[in-house]
């Protein structure tokens, strides 16, 4: 059944406007990244004249961009994998078992989202330093500490969302698997996780982006060797000069892999449950 014409037109107009809203800043970034610093702050024009690729060559020498990029990939990647794993386990427990303390757990976890980050920044740093002093495990200044921090940032929302997604998967499916001889974890791994792929993908993207973009904690918990992109990009603004063209060129360069990853993943965002399980 084809949707009515009016709907198609509404869709076209609304989506075009939204896409313009989403992409206009990106267009400004692209054109600005192709200008000399002298031109970049001049009066704005939609079609600039005098383009150069110079900023794309300079970005690697102004700050150690390649290293920051690698750090960000490692930190965000590890934090995502750990966070989603921990969240899947916890969400499975909340979704499939009724046990005492369930409500307490979910509410406690959610409440951690309410404290402004700036206030537990210093206490957390102190804890890391004290752990370092007493056990020799250096969490501050290391990627490990940052991974731990970020994974807990995305954990609460990941748990809550996954509980929602898991709830919508019929229980009969994993019960059948348990009868077939899988343990509960086997049922989780073989039945529930495959059926919840879109939800897990969405949560993974979220966990990745949380770690990818965090600024405040990274600014305190990293040093020059472990600094992440989100903080490192600010290095293009020195006390005396803001290298606008380079900031934008660098952000575009480092975003390309992320956007490409989205492109690959978005197929899984729409596969999954409805294809197999429910029918």
């Amino acid at each position: 059944m084809a949707p009515p014409r009016s709907f198609l037109w509404t869709r076209r107009i609304v989506l075009t406007l939204l896409a313009l809203f989403a992409l206009t800043p990106v267009y400004v970034m692209i054109t600005s990244s192709l200008k000399n610093l002298q031109d970049v702050q001049g009066a704005f024009r939609w079609l600039p004249d005098g383009l150069t690729i110079r900023p794309y060559l300079d970005i690697w020498h102004t700050v150690p961009l390649a290293r920051y990029f690698l750090n960000s990939l490692i930190v965000a990647g590890c934090a995502t994998v750990c966070s989603v794993t921990v969240a899947v386990l916890a969400a499975y427990a909340v979704s499939r078992y009724s046990f005492r303390g369930r409500r307490f757990f979910t509410v406690t976890v959610l409440s951690t989202q309410m404290f402004p980050g700036i206030l537990f920044l210093l206490p957390l740093f102190l804890i890391f330093v004290n752990i370092g002093n007493s056990t020799g495990v250096a969490l501050y200044g290391s990627r490990g500490g940052l991974i731990l921090t970020y994974l807990t940032f995305s954990l609460p929302f990941a748990v809550w969302m996954l509980v929602g997604y898991f709830d919508s998967i019929p229980r009969e499916l994993d019960e059948a698997a348990t009868v077939d001889g899988c343990g509960p974890l086997g049922a989780l791994w073989r039945v529930v996780v495959p059926a919840a792929v879109p939800g897990i993908v969405a949560v993974s993207v979220y966990a990745f982006m949380t770690a990818w973009g965090e600024v405040l904690f990274a600014s305190v918990m990293t040093d020059d060797t472990t600094r992440t992109l989100a903080v490192g990009l600010q290095g293009y603004a020195s006390q005396t000069d803001v290298h606008w063209n380079q900031v934008m060129a660098a952000s575009l360069v480092v975003s390309v892999p992320v956007v490409a990853g989205f492109l690959l993943l978005q197929r899984y965002l729409v596969a999954g449950l409805t294809a197999g399980a429910v029918k």
Partner: protein, 317 residues
């Protein structure tokens, strides 16, 4: 016996990693933060927190004293934050929902468009927001070029980064950065709505608008419950956007509470006062969240009971 023990213990075992991590990274530091709020923790004691004298409720008293400038400024900042949060969350959710619903059906270019919507989310915060501040410049920015030079909507080019318009600028940037997330989550959630329901409704003669109202939105309710709450909490506590957009001193009209607290603690080196404000904020958010969960869960309680202990939630059509 061991089997029974295992069955009872298993959920706790599954929760253990999550709980341990939350405890270490969030709950203990939060408890320290609360303790800080009762101390006179200024630059004089920064090196040794134990030496800072207990100040009882003094920090709180200053924060809520509405006759004094500190309290008044905090209250104003709180008001600005509430208005900002309601607007930004509402708009982000609305745009995200509209985009997700309109892109439910397959059409040419859908994948590309979906990626385009996610681009604002993929750009590093600092770069994205600094680009907006670049676009919002009064004399050379893109926004005024469009509104003033090309469309002629304003007599004088307005300021966006100072003065009252800064509120609108902040909402715009936040919505731009947040709606892709709502879109992402809702797109994933829509996958779990069986197509048959739409087909059945269409057979009954329901138009598209009715289908959306009667099938789509109700099926999204569980996800929406969490989504809106989390958007609310993040937006309320957002620090990066105003801080990067306006620099070290944020205009009054866009003085969000988290920046306000940063100013009151880091910039002025008074962590006790900042902690007290944070604790007040925490209490407020706890109350709002509890009320929200109570209201949204009550609406759902009927069907939840029907779902039974092990049953599947029936789709409500």
């Amino acid at each position: 016996m061991t089997a029974r023990l295992r069955r009872i213990g298993l959920p706790y075992l599954l929760l253990l990693p999550a709980l341990a991590l939350e405890l270490l990274i969030h709950l203990v530091p939060m408890a320290v933060g609360v303790a800080m709020s009762f101390k006179e923790l200024t630059q004089f004691f920064i090196r040794d927190w134990n030496a800072a004298p207990w100040s009882g409720l003094a920090n709180f008293r200053i924060a809520v004293d509405l006759d004094a400038p500190v309290g008044q400024a905090l209250l104003r900042s709180f008001g600005v934050t509430c208005a900002f949060t309601v607007l930004a969350v509402g708009l982000s959710w609305l745009l995200g929902t509209v985009a997700a619903i309109l892109m439910q059906d397959r059409f040419r270019g859908r994948g590309l468009l979906r990626t385009a919507f996610l681009v604002p989310y993929a750009l590093p915060v600092y770069a994205a927001v600094i680009t907006w501040s670049f676009m919002f410049q009064r004399d050379n920015g893109m926004v005024n070029h469009l509104l003033h030079d090309q469309l002629g909507l304003t007599a004088d080019p307005p300021f966006w980064l100072i003065g009252d318009h800064s509120f609108a600028a902040l909402v715009t940037v936040t919505v731009w950065r947040t709606f892709p997330f709502a879109f992402l989550i809702l797109t994933a959630a829509l996958q779990n709505v069986p197509r048959e329901l739409y087909e059945a409704a269409a057979m009954d003669g329901a138009g598209i608008r009715q289908q959306i109202r009667r099938i789509t939105l109700p099926s999204l309710r569980p996800v929406n419950q969490v989504l809106v709450l989390v958007l609310f909490l993040w937006t309320f506590n957002d620090f990066n956007t105003p801080y990067v957009l306006f620099g070290r001193s944020v205009p009054e009209a866009a003085d969000l509470i988290s920046v306000h607290i940063y100013q009151a603690s880091f910039v002025t080196w008074n962590f006790g006062a900042g902690s007290a404000m944070s604790v007040l904020l925490l209490l407020f958010l706890l109350v709002v969240t509890a009320a929200y969960l109570l209201v949204t869960s009550r609406r759902e309680r009927g069907p939840r009971k029907a779902r039974g202990p092990r049953g599947r939630r029936p789709a409500r059509v």
